[in-house]
């Protein structure tokens, strides 16, 4: 593949992310000095992000493994539904979680019924629980992708050699995990770093102050732009350090090419493992789907109370999501082509997750405002910011597969003179179809649910659905907000399903 589109995309990305940061720092006339409270926020941020990331990934491995080696009716639907938690606006998801784990939630009602002491969700454990709820499905999908990348022929060979589950784990699965896990952990860690509302709402008090809140405080409370810029750089430094660690730890597997057959796992077809996998899938689904069911239950009653603006906002959000998706895929493919040669390029893609939306928003505002009314750019900016923020996910999903395609078919394609557009059309795109569909689904769903920068730019007319939900709640209309939350959930999941399904069409994975 040609490299110039990737260079362009990388340059634009750097400008788009570092420009606003520079604008904020320049407007402040230099950096500010973070106080002791900021350092405490930094410590708490890192602790909760590390715990959340490790727990999400550790739990995701057995769940992904169970899903990878079992076929059952409704499996496809379950996998799609598992994508739901992390696309929800925070407050909708938190209320769903509270319906299960809160004071009057299902868990506590059950405990009370059994005469057992109640559990309290508020505290560090609540923050981690919420983050695992958001990110376990994402980690599971990324790891599942790794399992599916092992050609079915290898498992067939393993079976004909009479390998036990233990040997398959050592020979096939462990090397794959070694490649996939660092990246998955990194993504979840980066996501949890910028947590703000979850951490504060479930954290139980000012102990649970994160960097993102400190940035908010610096901007709006103290109007200390220099301190906000320095805090943003600290947050970015953390993600970059983690990225350096993860990219170094991730090895490259060499399973060779396969014929894309359906996986069959002879070695795992014993009753004990069957029961174990069934139990894991059941528990995972229970944990992830019960809060979603609560959101659906709360929302159905509110559907009829939604004012017309909600539908308009839903249309706006769809437009933003589709634009962001197209943009993100083009950038991800172009950057991935460069990342094949220079691994560190993936780190550049990660910047999107590392920079606080508040800083990007404020910086862009500073850059744009002298020339044009920011409200006129609100939707365009929101689409671009969402594309950039989804880029790390798309890259993480696309890159390993692209690497493998180039390793297994690249030389043949080159010897046939297949370069440029022809190579893209006949080799890359068809073989990347499943991961492109997944990446597109992720991006679209994320962009639907993101509140990000729109709140800084929007005027009365061009609100997105998440912003409209927040406005409804601000006007006491909790029922209508719950209805709009359900609408958002359904729309995001449909987009995710359409893209993901589209990518898997023909392929029975």
């Amino acid at each position: 593949m040609p490299l110039w589109p990737g260079r362009m995309a990388g340059l634009l990305l750097l400008l788009f992310l570092l420009g606003p940061l520079a604008a904020v720092a320049w407007r402040a006339g230099g950096g500010g000095w973070p106080g002791p409270a900021d350092m405490e926020a930094l410590r708490f941020t890192v602790v909760q992000a590390v715990l959340s990331a490790l727990l999400s990934v550790v739990l995701a491995v057995p769940l992904a493994r169970a899903l990878a080696r079992r076929r059952f009716p409704g499996r496809g639907a379950l996998i799609t539904l598992l994508g739901a938690p992390f696309i929800l606006p925070v407050i909708v998801a938190v209320l769903g979680l509270l319906a299960v784990f809160g004071r009057g939630g299902i868990v506590n009602d059950t405990l009370a019924f059994l005469d057992l002491p109640r559990v309290q969700i508020y505290g560090l454990h609540g923050v981690v629980l919420a983050h695992v709820f958001f990110n376990l499905p994402l980690a599971t999908r990324m790891i599942l992708q790794g399992w599916q990348a092992i050609p079915a022929e290898r498992f067939r060979l393993a079976a004909s050699l009479g390998m036990t589950p233990g040997t398959v784990l050592r020979v096939l699965e462990r090397p794959m995990l070694r490649e996939v896990l660092p990246g998955a952990t990194l993504i979840v860690f980066a996501l949890c770093l910028s947590s703000f509302a979850v951490a504060l709402t479930l954290g139980g008090g000012p102990r649970a102050t994160t960097l993102e809140l400190a940035i908010y405080q610096a901007f709006h409370f103290d109007f200390d732009l220099g301190r906000a810029a320095v805090l943003a750089v600290m947050q970015m430094g953390l993600v970059m350090a983690a990225a350096a660690l993860a990219l170094r730890a991730g090895g490259v597997t060499g399973f060779g090419a396969g014929l894309d057959r359906v996986h069959r796992r002879w070695e795992a077809e014993i009753p004990l493992l069957r029961a174990q996998d069934a139990a894991l899938i059941f528990l995972g689904a229970l944990f992830l789907l019960t809060p979603l069911a609560a959101i659906g239950w709360r929302g159905v009653a509110g559907l009829s109370e939604m004012p017309a603006q909600v539908w308009r906002a839903a249309g706006v959000s769809l437009g933003v999501a589709l634009t962001a998706t197209a943009l993100c895929l083009v950038m991800a493919l172009s950057l991935a082509a460069i990342a094949l040669r220079h691994g560190w390029v993936e780190g550049v893609g990660l910047l999107g997750l590392a920079i606080s939306p508040l800083v990007i928003g404020t910086g862009l505002f500073l850059l744009v405002n002298p020339w044009i009314d920011p409200a006129r750019l609100a939707l365009g900016v929101t689409a671009v910011v969402n594309a950039v923020m989804a880029l790390p996910f798309a890259m993480r999903v696309i890159l390993p597969r692209l690497r493998e395609v180039e390793a297994t078919h690249g030389r043949l394609a080159t010897s046939l003179g297949m370069v440029g557009i022809a190579r893209l059309r006949w080799l890359i795109l068809p073989r990347l179809r499943t991961v492109l569909g997944f990446a597109a689904g992720l991006t679209a769903a994320l962009a639907m649910g993101d509140l990000g920068v729109i709140a800084l730019f929007a005027d009365a007319d061009n609100a997105t659905l998440p912003l409209q939900i927040l406005r409804l709640m601000g006007a006491y209309q909790m029922q209508a907000a719950a209805g709009a939350g359900l609408l958002l959930l359904v729309l995001s999941l449909s987009l995710f399903w359409l893209f993901d399904r589209g990518g898997r069409h023909h392929a029975a994975v």
Partner: protein, 327 residues
């Protein structure tokens, strides 16, 4: 479909043409003021009917975000009027030097005296804990701290009511504020970033009481026909929030801006406030407050620190809050 598109293009062109003829008055305000169910749309219609101008509201987050947007833009701001700051933000706003005196003398229907020459109030309210009507609530902060009543509050660093509560305790207890917060720390279920999250948590049954306004039960009564919520009277008195507007010194529509500030205190504006912003109007309209507002509690003592004192005490009050709750 083609007809529809043609029609909408025509309408769009027509609006643009008429908008170009009329002078534009730009009003920066907080986001919930301009949303479809806030006061913005009705007020825009009423003012445009008499001013022959185009009133444009620009929403910018909450009150604090509104002020930081103005500071970011500085003297080059397009705003002619800013509407939605409160007494906690006034000193910082005044220090920017961006505002001109309003030159209006008016009598307000507020429990405190008001004679600021730059900032003009448009509505006000009392902070209060809101509970279910049948809840047996403590009557002051000490009793609340000793009880096992659970409460949800907002973070003073990111939320207006959250800051209001910290100033409430500080103005009522002064040097003993830290002690009061220590008493309250085990009653606080959690601290949310904004009002919406806290109120949502309360409605879901996560706590016995939530920090909100004395006017909150009026929403449930009037809009939902539900008399199941009450505001809890506190014997120390209730801290107030006064929301104000001001004219930018750099406005290129000085006359229109003055006209808007005058309009702001007429019934056409004030009558919209109670059931859209769910606050008390700064000047009670001729036909009084809507039915249902008479059921609300009226605190015997209104607490409010003047703007300079509030600005001076703010950081210390928050530090006390933070220290007590971090234990």
């Amino acid at each position: 479909m083609h007809h529809l598109m043609l029609a909408s293009t025509l309408i769009a062109t027509a609006t643009m043409a008429s908008a170009q003829d009329r002078p534009v008055l730009t009003v920066y305000t907080y986001d919930s003021f301009v949303s479809g169910w806030g006061p913005g749309p009705q007020i825009e219609q009423a003012f445009e009917a008499e001013c022959g101008c185009d009133l444009q509201f620009v929403g910018a987050g909450d009150g604090a975000a509104l002020l930081s947007r103005l500071r970011l833009e500085g003297a080059r701001t397009k705003a002619d009027i800013v509407l939605g700051l409160d007494t906690n933000l006034m000193t910082a706003a005044r220090d920017t030097g961006l505002f001109d005196p309003h030159g209006i003398t008016a009598a307000f229907d507020m429990p405190v005296e008001w004679d600021d020459d730059t900032f003009l109030p448009f509505d006000w309210g009392y902070f209060a804990f809101v509970a279910n009507a049948d809840f047996d609530a403590p009557g002051d902060f000490r009793a609340l701290g000793q009880s096992d009543t659970s409460i949800v509050i907002q973070d003073p660093r990111s939320s207006t009511p959250g800051l209001g509560l910290v100033m409430w305790v500080k103005s009522a207890y002064g040097d003993q504020a830290a002690e009061i917060w220590e008493g309250l720390s085990d009653n606080i279920v959690t601290v949310t970033p904004g009002w919406s999250e806290a109120y949502g948590l309360f409605l879901e049954g996560e706590a016995d009481m939530v920090l909100s306004y004395t006017t909150s039960p009026a929403y449930h009564l009037i809009a939902e026909d539900d008399s199941g919520k009450k505001a809890v009277p506190m014997s120390e008195g209730h801290y107030m929030q006064v929301e104000v507007a001001a004219k930018l010194a750099g406005t290129d529509q000085a006359e229109l801006a003055d006209q808007f500030l005058e309009f702001m205190l007429t019934d056409a504006f004030q009558g919209v406030i109670p059931t859209t912003n769910w606050m008390y109007p700064a000047k009670t309209p001729a036909d009084g407050l809507p039915d249902g507002f008479d059921t609300l509690i009226t605190p015997e003592t209104a607490l409010l620190l003047d703007a300079d004192k509030a600005a001076a005490l703010r950081d210390q009050a928050i530090a006390e809050w933070q220290a007590a709750l971090a234990r």
